[in-house]
Amino acid sequence: MGLDVESEITNSINAGNIVTAHETPVSFVGGTNVGYLLIDPLTGAGAYKIAGGANGGFLSSDAASILGFLGFALGVIGAGFSVPLLVVISAVIAIIIAISLILDYLAINHRCTGLGYLIGLSVLATLAGVFSGGILAVVIMYTGLIAGGGAMSAANSSICKN
């Protein structure tokens, strides 16, 4: 395990949490990773983490970026050429990214207040885009996701992260 991971585990144990980790790195989806669980025994709340930046979401940042670009392109093409199926698929992709964004955000242990509202607002923008129409709706959906990504970066920054 890296020093940052060991430090996080030590801090979590000192804070009274129960930490579960494996003895050796595990192979997963073509790569070797270190995964660990930080659980608060009083509330049951915790984080399921993977060393190297990935955490609570189900999409890697690369997958989210590719999906985001694909969804935006499909949405613009669908709205421009009046192909509703493409717009709905674009909305489905936006919703998937929004959910992954929230799960990623929840897994970050940070001390900055207000970022949760920004994430919520970005998800609401996605919802507004789903209910409205045209290219503007697609732009609103994906602008919201970009704003949410900004909030994620802030939560991950050294200023905010615990």
Partner: protein, 81 residues
């Protein structure tokens, strides 16, 4: 907004969209019209677009049900304590 509130908001967000999509499919079946991109598509006038939107809503429901049933219990429900 703390983590429990945001987790609750996420569940409500997904459930709202599932309900919306189910209502749209019901309206599409009963009234022969379906809403997408800010307007209604009538089955009688725009059959092709009507079925495209219907397929899109079915896809949306399948994806969100999968997330609701398989992803949330593992990744989200822990935040409710």
């Amino acid at each position: 907004m703390d983590k429990t509130e945001l987790a609750l908001f996420t569940v409500i967000f997904v459930d709202t969209i599932i309900v919306f999509a189910l209502v749209m499919l019901f309206i599409g079946y009963s009234k022969k019209k379906i809403f997408s991109m800010g307007r209604w598509y009538y089955k009688s006038a725009e059959k092709n677009q009507f079925w495209q939107v219907t397929i899109g809503y079915v896809l949306l429901i399948i994806v969100l049900f999968y997330i609701r049933l398989f992803v949330f219990p593992e990744k989200l429900f822990q935040y409710f304590g």
